[in-house]
Symmetry: C2
Subunit: 430 residues, 2 copies
Amino acid sequence: MRKEVIQLGILGLGVVGSGTVEVLRRNRESIERKIGARLEIRRIAVRDVNKPRRVAVDHSLLTNNAYDVLDDPQVDIVVELIGGVHPAKEYVLRALENGKPVVSANKELLAKEGADIMMAAGRRHLDFAFEGSVGGGIPIIQPMKNALAGNRIERVMGIVNGTTNYILTKMAEDGTDFEQALKEAQAQGYAEADPGADVNGHDAQYKIAILASIAFTARVRVDDVYCEGITKITRADMEWAKQLGYAVKLVAIAQEVSAKAVQVRVHPALLPLSHPLASVRDVYNAILVRGDAVGDVMFYGRGAGSLPTGSAVVGDIIDVSRNLLFGSGGRVGCTCFDQRYVVPMEQVETSYYVRMRVQDRPNVLAQVAGVFGVHNISISSVVQRQTSPQEAEIVWITHRAPEGAVRHAIAEIQRLPVVMEVCNTLRVEA
Amino acid sequence: MRKEVIQLGILGLGVVGSGTVEVLRRNRESIERKIGARLEIRRIAVRDVNKPRRVAVDHSLLTNNAYDVLDDPQVDIVVELIGGVHPAKEYVLRALENGKPVVSANKELLAKEGADIMMAAGRRHLDFAFEGSVGGGIPIIQPMKNALAGNRIERVMGIVNGTTNYILTKMAEDGTDFEQALKEAQAQGYAEADPGADVNGHDAQYKIAILASIAFTARVRVDDVYCEGITKITRADMEWAKQLGYAVKLVAIAQEVSAKAVQVRVHPALLPLSHPLASVRDVYNAILVRGDAVGDVMFYGRGAGSLPTGSAVVGDIIDVSRNLLFGSGGRVGCTCFDQRYVVPMEQVETSYYVRMRVQDRPNVLAQVAGVFGVHNISISSVVQRQTSPQEAEIVWITHRAPEGAVRHAIAEIQRLPVVMEVCNTLRVEA
């Protein structure tokens, strides 16, 4: 007999948890009609049942024991919103062992332990849905697994971290330095007190590992994703970029190199102002997916926040509920069928922006250019600006060259007596 | 027993049909693994079996009798790609009567006869999927029906016709007039020999009727969609718009007015250059969806073409195949649960751009402004430019005002002896 009520067990009532509860409440009637059954929140596990909450919930729903949710036979779907790897992984596996499908917005868990979890879900033909793990409320996981599934995905490139995009936008538009922009982001609630995971690129690293695994139908491990944060971007880099016609963004890129090889990386990059990602401002996210049939499609919106991420989680709850009602659990399972080799960063080819302080005297440009030449790196443009009577700043934009060659060239350039400092090297993407 | 082969019957092998066949062929192995079954093209019905084709297909697959496809008990899914209302509607209903789910990219059919078709599909718990009907390869129908389904949709606003966007881009960037830009679009293959459905806005009208019906969970009939094309946009309007900081785009808008009322319309509009849709160029499409939880999300990509639309059709084939294998046909059905009133255009409130030729003498501005004032229309900005010793052009940008009031004011202004001509009136959107 068809179920008439679907009961949800929620783990975690923080930012995403309260957004999820709020969305479910607000649009309950419409959601229930779309599913064709009633939705009820059966139990919510929290660390402290007495903590004040962003949403008012009946105190009797709360428990501080996750197993009251996981082991409750009445719970039809477990919604994991506690974040982190442990004990989230143990909770998710327990839910699956108990035959319950899981909805999660946990990027770190998925990026690090996705293989185990997808396998456990697959064995039992249970759904494990994770739209909220990337891009907040922006639909991206479901479209890649469904509407775009007829494509061979050639590239995924995105701005997937709102905090760093806010900081870079502030730096670019207000001329503030990194520290100041970070403080503003913290004051606005866009950055955590400990901003490491965001500004060092790890949050983006988790997300691109997830997207790459779907895009390339092959498990991409977090450790294989090259990761560089935005902390070394200075006001000077921002000014030069603007002058040269570029925006500076933290990009996450997953690119097919051949049938067997891919590259996956997170780092700041200069993007030409005409690039679709260049105009993505503030905490917004955007993800560009290139398929062999569809060409470039872009998904844009708020990449984080309570209600946007709640929207994604509720979308998954609707999807999983439909599968429960139709007995079609595991309908869209893991698609990591292939083994693909992740090319080491040294072999990745891209263009580079190199900014250096040099002595302002004849022949310096030629000496530096000579080193680039020896390493087979050709130059697209170079601009020199005198900064003091004895000193000049030079910014080079190279043509595409392998990262390894560029690193060697930079090391050699740094040893030139006329070069005082190579201040920064940033990749330039198209 | 689980099916091992899913057999497709295709109606039509034109632009979209051949793109669909091409995508299925190219990525067959990967698609079959994602589904978990083999996919075979069983039969393709075409008007003329001897016509040369864009894709090479085995001649034995072709038939000029659609019923060879529709009535073949081996056909599992019917893919309708012939376009138009008749006989497409009869074919689709026959397929459904025969118990076959249908994938279609037919916007006109869906916009005009969607109610009958969705009802026929619903009665038999069969899928009717139509991702390809709007936005070419851009995922938009599936995301609205799934990932965003937890939201109350407040607005859908899009550039959904590539032909007109190409024409307007040419006019804006190259300073050509409408006729010239249309010729270029035809030469590029972006416009039909008979471009009426595109330039008069009907193509966009069908698409926004479909999107509005999903967004508002209420059937929006094509006849309720106000529709105005781009043929009256002149070079002068383009120049003024640029000077004032706007782009001119053909926009399709579906907006919630209240719980009971919506507005749905297609017309050219001035968009501030900072608007996310303002920078959508050439044949690209973009659709902005505003949900109460997710905020604004945007979907961007190629809105037409053989392979992009083929990508969407194949995405639907994958989705429907999964439902066949899991016995979950009709899993996501029609969601037009509500009745909503479509507000007549006279009551729609927006801002307006009004360009007029006037006699260049004192007090003219005051006279015209007086008429606006009498109709309670306040002015945001006004620019006057002398065009000859006796003549000037004035462009007004109003604040928000009901369309009815603006129409009355314009009629009255046209009767002023000092006004030679009201050249154009265009809406300004934010």
